[in-house]
């Protein structure tokens, strides 16, 4: 089984629901976005248009972040998920230089959303999950998968632009969407074998 995601850019309305639900699920510190939405304006008046691109870790099959990691902290977990063992990471950040998609974050110091006011109870509860001095990133919500749920960004996408499933199964919805609608990946020339696919806008 190879888990992957398909993001339909025709359905995406750039509401940031994925970004916010990911923040809520993982309680990530300020400046850390496992899932984020890139926006860019294209063209000129009277025909400008807004382009959206929701991004997250692609859980690459040939992940350069995993091969660059000297400690083994970055590793392939079950079903091709690329994860980081926070207790093994030394914070060398070689993985950040290797990821062609900028999907990794280094937490140099503890930060809270309300600065001087200190952490909210939720931030306090989540801070153990994100220790300082190590790198962090999306893990396809492994804890949710273990409970039989979809990743938070998939579950909370109001436009149902995200579909999650087994890319190795040709009959799965993700495989069929990719085949029928010409799914593509980001930076295929990097040879990383991303497992997050996009359907054109």
């Amino acid at each position: 089984m190879r888990l992957g995601m398909v993001i339909d850019l025709k359905r995406c309305m750039a509401c940031y629901g994925c970004q916010m639900s990911c923040k809520a699920e993982h309680g990530t510190p300020p400046g850390v976005f496992f899932a984020r939405v890139l926006k860019r304006e294209e063209g000129h008046y009277p025909t400008p248009r807004m382009l959206f691109l929701p991004v997250l870790c692609n859980h690459c099959s040939d992940a350069p972040c995993v091969s660059a990691c000297p400690t083994g902290a970055s590793h392939y977990a079950e079903h091709g998920i690329v994860d980081i063992d926070k207790d093994m990471c030394v914070g060398c950040r070689a993985c950040m230089m290797a990821c062609p998609y900028n999907n990794r974050y280094f937490l140099d110091e503890r930060r809270y959303y309300f600065g001087e006011a200190g952490p909210t109870p939720y931030e306090e509860a989540c801070s153990d999950r994100h220790p300082e001095g190590v790198v962090m990133k999306c893990n396809f919500c492994r804890h949710r998968l273990a409970e039989g749920k979809d990743p938070a960004c998939v579950e909370n996408c109001a436009a149902k632009a995200r579909t999650f499933g087994d890319l190795d199964d040709p009959e799965s919805i993700v495989s069929r969407l990719i085949k029928e609608r010409g799914g593509f990946t980001l930076h295929p020339e990097a040879g990383t074998g991303p497992n997050v696919y996009y359907l054109g806008p």
Partner: protein, 300 residues
């Protein structure tokens, strides 16, 4: 701008320089690479010229470089774990090489110091061989750490390892110039010629790398070149690398007559300083591949 605000600005832009290596505390990593590179080159040059003081200097530089690397890590207390992934990670290989160098070099230097008459003894030889293996690794691995960074097209060049190897030798010659000026050992004339030769190779490799990055068609690589030659890193490059690292030593060498030990030491020091700024500039010039917005349907 503080680190957090900078990160948010970077995330919004198409053009995103890397800010982990060579910036803020990340300068320690460049210092580490610089010292370890010079240490490897110095060990080789000192072995060729038979300068024991050079070996000792190389050892101290490598130890300082190791400390700088440790100080850079987010979790230095876990550093031993960095040996695990030697099959795929150049950082792991470098860590093993540096460890071998420090162990072998330590044994060799201690043996030279404690039993100077027994240079061919088994302990001395073992130390020498281990240090030699470590030297090859520490001279060779650094460029590959950058080349392995697929996200940064400017570094992802096959020339980068060659450039770093050439840097190590230039650093070694520079260190030996300083040592020979201070101790009066080794042939100054031969070293100066060697400095000119190695400097020519470094300049050639660098020019080729810049040319390749500019003409290679990758927008991020071109950003890097623009940053070095005419952007945020121009001062480091023109002031540190070109003026201090090339023009000053060349001007000193062009002064007619025999070169005084002080002039030779100055050539070595300015050359080494130029190398440091060159490494700092090329590391800071790393720009991530931009994520291209799909404007219309594309097929995989």
């Amino acid at each position: 701008m503080n680190r957090y605000d900078q990160l948010i600005v970077d995330l919004r832009g198409d053009y995103r320089p890397q800010r982990e290596w060579g910036v803020g505390r990340g300068v320690l990593m460049v210092v580490g690479h610089f010292l370890v590179g010079v240490a490897g080159g110095t060990w080789v040059m000192a072995s060729i010229y038979g300068v024991t003081a050079g070996l000792a200097v190389a050892y101290v530089l490598a130890a300082l470089g190791a400390l700088a690397h440790l100080a850079y890590l987010g979790r230095p207390e876990r550093a031993l774990g960095m040996m695990r992934r030697f099959r795929t990670s150049w950082i792991a290989r470098g860590f093993i090489g540096l460890t071998l160098f420090l162990i072998g070099g330590g044994i060799y230097l201690a043996a030279l110091l404690l039993a100077p008459d027994d240079v061919a003894g088994p302990v001395t030889r073992t130390g020498q061989v281990i240090a030699a293996v470590g030297t090859v690794v520490i001279i060779g691995y650094m460029g590959f750490c950058y080349t392995a960074s697929k996200a940064i097209p400017f570094w992802h060049s096959p020339l980068h390892p060659a450039l770093y190897i050439a840097f190590a030798f230039r650093g070694g010659v520079a260190a030996l110039l300083v040592i020979s000026a201070v101790t009066g050992v080794a042939s100054g004339a031969g070293l100066l010629e060697m400095w000119i030769g190695v400097t020519t190779v470094v300049a050639l490799f660098f020019a080729l790398e810049i040319q390749g990055a500019w003409s290679g068609g990758n927008v991020a690589a071109r950003w890097s070149v623009r940053d070095i030659l005419a952007g945020r890193l121009a001062l480091l490059f023109y002031g540190g690398t070109l003026a201090l690292g090339l023009i000053v030593p060349l001007a000193l060498l062009l002064v007619p007559g025999a070169h005084s030990p002080a002039a030779m030491a100055l050539v070595g020091l300015t050359s080494a300083a130029g190398d440091f700024f060159m490494k700092l500039a090329t590391v800071r010039a790393g720009v991530y591949l931009p994520l291209v917005m799909p404007a219309r349907r594309q097929r995989a």
